[in-house]
Symmetry: C2
Subunit: 159 residues, 2 copies
């Protein structure tokens, strides 16, 4: 592998490792456990799963790699806080959506060349990107990996 | 910047962003708040801070970039669980140690060339590294960034 490939591969591996650990934790939870709050008065695991699915689903347009699969999750899990809206989806359907979104993202990342990773994301203009080439796809994926780690730390509290 | 530099810079930025957010949260906490558990029966913020300081301090030998600054934190914050040992350090000294360790790490990372980032870490043998060049310094730093994100998600629960 070239240096560029090794560096891109480190970022992709980091994404896969964090996702794999979260999925392992998720697989061990019953639907009842998904209804638990991570701490008193804080988000339920179910809400966190919806939130993470919506945030990851938004990566398709943000990275310019396809249409969203589950835009219907924004209102209950992004726009509104936990408890504001009756859950519009079952635990099994939400888990299915989570898996679909991440499998499709990971498949896409696996085809990325260095140039793909370093391309601008769609929330930045050509002019802004010319000034700051750090606003690229790999920065978005690292940020989402950290975001998933952040909520994984919370999810693990509600066993 | 070359592609290699852009890729290394993305990893360094990710480290700095996560660290900056954690530090911002930490700065807003009183010593009393540091004694709070992140959830009932879970680690105190104080313990998490000690744990993170010890884990980050271990990066000096792991990356082969210097001697440890605070090896005395391993026993209370890594070997033993929260509550097993009376805190051997004050909140202000622990915060100071945290800052020292991360400042020195970040200064070191800022001098890294691509070749430095892709060098093997010290916990892997030359033979193993030849088989898997992904066991490099950048993978360690990404892993620690995710680890810090993981505990940041917990720390934010105890306000």
């Amino acid at each position: 592998m070239t240096n560029e490939e090794l560096l891109c591969s480190a970022a992709l591996n980091s994404w896969k490792i964090v996702l794999g650990r979260f999925d392992q934790h998720l697989a061990a939870l019953t639907d009842e456990q998904l209804q638990k709050q991570v701490a008193p008065g804080k988000n339920r695991l179910f809400y966190l799963l919806g939130h993470l699915t919506a945030v990851h689903d938004r990566m398709f347009p943000l990275l310019g790699i396809g249409e969203r699969l589950h835009a219907e999750l924004d209102e209950p899990f992004l726009t509104n806080p936990d408890g504001a809206i009756v859950d519009p989806v079952s635990a099994s359907d939400l888990k299915k959506a989570w898996g679909e979104v991440n499998n499709k993202l990971t498949e896409s990342f696996e085809t990325f060349t260095t140039s793909d990773w370093l391309s601008k994301h769609t929330a930045v203009s050509e002019d802004e990107f010319a000034k700051d080439p750090g606003r690229n796809r790999i920065a978005v994926v690292m940020s989402r990996t950290n975001h998933l780690s952040f909520h994984s730390g919370q999810a693990i509290l509600a066993k």
